[in-house]
């Protein structure tokens, strides 16, 4: 990882050059060290040690905005980068709403849990990687663990601008996963389990092994159910994928571009009164904890949908200025790109239904959605995904289900919620927190 002084010198040089050219600018510098392992047939199959750095500048001159980046921190490369950004800006429209507006922000993420001492050795990590694979294949009918691995990352972000802002963030994260390919009587099924945390000893390889194996085994004899409408409960990773695919509806930037179907729906009832969705800056165990957004503003909590009513979209200073409303400090920008908006932790508030109430009667529990990236039309809300799971009754799985599609319209779906559970859980990535939600009557295509 590039040292702190070298990064700081690079940032200073870029801001000086931009300022000397009469431009406002902000700079994002990222560097990271990563280590990952994969196993196959009882041996390490991949051993990856990497370190990388990138610096990116956004310049605003005479209300024209452009960006440029470089993976080299050499002074000549940095000068070329600034010059290129200024050249790019000659071609963009004038935009009075996009400015370098964050003044003298000196925020530093000061949360002990995101950067913890970790004394695990390389041997510990190799042992875990091998154990993930061997733990799967030791089980009856587990033909292979075709996807498995361990990884960790130590990353640093520095954000600075010509208005005196200098913000810093550093974090560590780690993960492991294992998929089981289950085979019996010429039939195959596959499922995986994943675990993540901030320290090696937070990882739960046994969960990865057992969860993937148990679900793959249970799905083996799955078959399509009769085409029709079913109540559906998505498992948390599926629910997270679904909300992720339609996240555009909460984006102030999409609204500004005129492609967000909720752009004129502020204070309208867009969902069931049972649904409250917030963007939360800090949540214990969350993976997206950061003191500042990509413009340098302090992150904060925002209620997006309150009891079904659209209360706010996600904004940065650009979209907030465009609409003449408050900035929610959701600016996102990578070193390689332009300004956008993104959520931090999406949190769906708990409701009042107990597990027994949520799972009363017949419903479909979906544990795997396929094609979420391609089968969702965020503009129209229409979706159609491949799916697998279980037909359940009163909380008990009574039949595995595979080879079906689930289809509907996301914006309509949000209005057709039967019940919201009273226990909050998080997905594997730890940036989506939600209780169980039971949706009413989704269209299922099967036999």
């Amino acid at each position: 990882m590039a040292d702190q002084n070298k990064l700081q010198q690079a940032i200073d040089q870029v801001l000086e050059r931009a300022h000397a050219a009469g431009a406002d600018a902000d700079v994002i510098a990222n560097c990271s060290n990563n280590f990952s392992l994969k196993a196959n047939a009882g041996e390490l199959d991949e051993y990856k040690v990497t370190s990388g750095q990138v610096i990116g500048v956004r310049v605003i001159k005479d209300q024209h905005i452009a960006t440029c980046y470089s993976e080299s921190l050499e002074p000549a490369s940095l000068d070329t980068m600034v010059e290129q950004a200024l050249q790019n800006a000659l071609y963009t429209k004038q935009d009075e709403h996009q400015t370098i507006s964050c003044m003298n922000s000196q925020l530093k993420t000061d949360v002990a849990e995101i950067y913890q001492q970790d004394n695990a050795t390389v041997d510990d990590k190799i042992e875990l990687a091998l154990a993930l694979e061997s733990g799967v294949v030791a089980k009856p009918h587990a033909k292979a663990a075709p996807y498995n691995g361990f990884g960790e990352s130590d990353s640093q972000v520095i954000l600075a601008n010509t208005q005196g802002t200098l913000c810093q963030h550093q974090e560590r994260s780690t993960y492991c996963y294992a998929y089981t390919l289950y085979e019996q009587d010429d039939k195959q099924s596959m499922h995986g389990g994943m675990s993540s945390g901030r320290r090696f000893d937070e990882l739960d390889p046994n969960y990865c092994i057992n969860h993937g194996y148990d679900i793959a085994k249970a799905l083996l004899d799955g078959s399509p159910i009769t085409t029709g409408s079913y109540s559906v409960i998505f498992d948390l990773s599926c629910l997270s994928s679904l909300f992720g695919a339609f996240g555009m509806c909460l984006s102030g930037q999409s609204a500004m571009k005129g492609i967000n179907p909720w752009r004129d729906a502020l204070h309208d009832q867009v969902a069931s009164p049972l649904l409250t969705v917030s963007d939360v800056a800090f949540i214990e165990g969350g993976s997206a904890i950061k003191a500042f957004d990509s413009e340098g503003y302090a992150t904060r909590d925002t209620i997006l949908i309150g009891e079904g009513q659209l209360q706010s979209l996600l904004h940065n200073s650009h979209t907030a200025s465009f609409f003449g409303i408050d900035n929610t400090a959701n600016a996102s920008r990578s070193a390689k790109g332009g300004l956008g908006v993104s959520s931090r932790h999406t949190v769906i508030a708990t409701g009042t239904s107990s597990d027994a109430e949520i799972t009363a009667g017949e419903y479909l529990e979906l544990v795997n959605l396929q094609g979420v990236h391609s089968g969702a039309d965020a503009v129209s809300g229409d979706f159609s995904f491949g799916a697998s799971g279980f037909l359940c009754r009163d909380g008990k799985r009574i039949q595995p289900v595979r080879g079906i599609t689930v289809a509907g319209n996301f914006y309509q779906l949000l209005k057709e919620i039967d019940a919201v559970g009273n226990t909050l859980n998080h997905d594997y990535e730890r940036d989506f927190f939600a209780p169980q939600i039971r949706f009413n009557k989704l269209s299922i295509a099967g036999k």
Binding site: A66, Y69, S72, Y91, K143, P146, Q370, D377, S384, A445
Partner: protein
């Protein structure tokens, strides 16, 4: 980009540490993009990526690392870190580097390094925007983007290989949005080629704008797609994504070597209907998925995957070859220096047959014409796949009767290959990006229209 003496010293160091094989992949990657939204230029971005990937083999174990530095000591440091747990007495010697020359099959007249041509690109986008909005007053938004990239690679390895390539990519993405009250729909096309900005000569800006606008308008008033099993005619061009996802990924040694592909033990067997012939071809002039050499330095080739329904070849990279015994096919690819290469597709397609589209549609009593496919995904272990249909029509009594909203097709690779009963003549290719373990790489999919006798369709009805 990297001094050969430095490369040789690092490779020697790797073999001194006991590696069976060592490779350096040096990449300088320049990119430029311009985006038009609401009739104005909204974003212009550019940048340079540079790094060196170091790959070592110890038996079948792959060790991989990268750095942004060309410094010999830093490269040796990363090599030492990689080999730390596997260090042993030296068992192989590196051959002297021997620079290989070849003639590029893919000429480029307007490379990015000679200028981004932003004015010409902006004029192109404005014309496309105007054409889309002129198509219908219900077109409420148009977003156009042109991305041009120039990737220079240099590969050194312990067999003495020293080779380089420069790849020029240009892609235009056009999205039109139609609106009727609170209902919205989209049309999307993204043609691309392995060439410079002269790609614009092959494209008609007006036609592109009109095309995406028409697509959005058709969907705006479409009815829900019926659900259930039925015959489907899959349109030409991007319809080839069905083969890419359902079968192509299962024929990469990345899956085959781990026995994570349902086809891993089917070489020489009938895996498809005899009307099916399939190819993965990296040699097609200026096609989006073409390359001169793969990312392991091997000259690429045309690989016949399926001949008259019989499996004839896998797509094989260097490590895949060591693990499976099949000869490499010039298929080792990676997104960038940040990834170790694995076997990947290039231009992958089903070859033309002898049926007409009318004959195929005429043979369907009740089914779907999936004119334009969207993306999809596959689970290699089981072969289960899904595809989104971007533009679909209902077929009733051998006639197309009405447009349908988005739908999904799901099946398994082995099943669908046997359900293809008619293959058309109207062969076409389409550009796409394929994501897998070695990152996102440009690939072309293609096919003539073809008939699948029975496949599960998931729609809204």
């Amino acid at each position: 980009m990297l001094n050969p003496a430095t490369a040789k010293a690092v490779i020697d160091h790797a073999l001194f540490l006991g590696a069976d094989f060592a490779e350096l992949f040096v990449e300088h990657h320049q990119s430029s993009s311009v985006e038009l939204t609401s009739g104005d230029i909204d974003k212009v971005n550019s940048g340079i990526d540079f790094g060196i990937g170091i790959r070592l083999f110890f038996g079948h174990k792959v060790l991989y690392g990268y750095t942004n530095s060309t410094d010999e000591e830093e490269l040796k440091r990363v090599t030492g870190l990689l080999a730390a747990k596997d260090k042993r007495d030296q068992i192989a010697n590196a051959a002297a580097l021997n620079f290989s020359r070849y003639s590029s099959k893919h000429l480029c007249k307007q490379p990015l390094a000679q200028g981004a041509n932003l004015e010409a690109k902006i004029a192109f986008l404005r014309e496309t925007d105007k054409a889309a909005r002129s198509e219908d007053e219900k077109i409420s938004q148009f977003i156009g983007r042109i991305l041009q990239r120039e990737q220079q690679v240099e590969i050194f390895n312990s067999t003495g290989l020293h080779i380089g390539d420069t790849r020029h990519y240009t892609r235009v993405a056009a999205t039109a949005i139609a609106q009727n009250g609170s209902e919205q729909s989209t049309g999307f096309e993204a043609p691309g080629a392995l060439t410079g900005w002269e790609f614009n000569i092959r494209l008609d800006a007006r036609e592109l704008g009109q095309h995406v606008a028409k697509q959005a308008m058709v969907k705006l008033f479409a009815e829900n797609c019926p659900s259930g099993e039925m015959p489907v005619i899959i349109g030409n061009g991007f319809g080839g994504v069905i083969f890419h996802e359902a079968c192509g990924h299962l024929l990469e040694t990345t899956s085959v070597a781990k026995k994570a592909s349902v086809f891993h033990d089917k070489m020489g067997e009938m895996i498809a209907n005899p009307v099916v012939n399939a190819v993965d071809d990296g040699t097609m002039t200026n096609e989006w998925g073409s390359i001169n050499i793969d990312d392991e330095g091997m000259e690429t080739q045309r690989t016949q995957l399926i001949k008259d329904g019989k499996l004839t070849s896998f797509m094989v990279d260097h490590m895949g070859s060591l693990k499976t015994g099949f000869a490499p096919t010039g298929s080792g690819r990676r997104e960038s220096y940040k990834y170790a290469p694995t076997s990947r597709m290039r231009n992958t397609f089903i070859e033309p047959g002898d049926s007409s589209l009318d004959e195929m549609i005429g043979s369907v009593e009740h089914g779907i014409f999936a004119k334009k496919m969207g993306g999809g995904s596959v689970q290699p272990g089981t072969g289960e796949f899904n595809f989104a249909v971007q533009e679909a029509y209902l077929i009733e009594n051998g006639q197309i009767t009405k447009p349908l909203k988005s739908a999904t097709l799901i099946s398994t690779g082995p099943k669908v290959l046997k359900e293809i009963s008619m293959v058309g003549k109207d062969f076409e290719l389409a550009a796409g990006m394929c994501g897998s373990v070695s990152g996102s790489v440009p690939t072309t999919v293609g096919q003539p229209a073809l008939k699948v006798d029975n496949i599960l369709v998931g729609g809204g009805n």
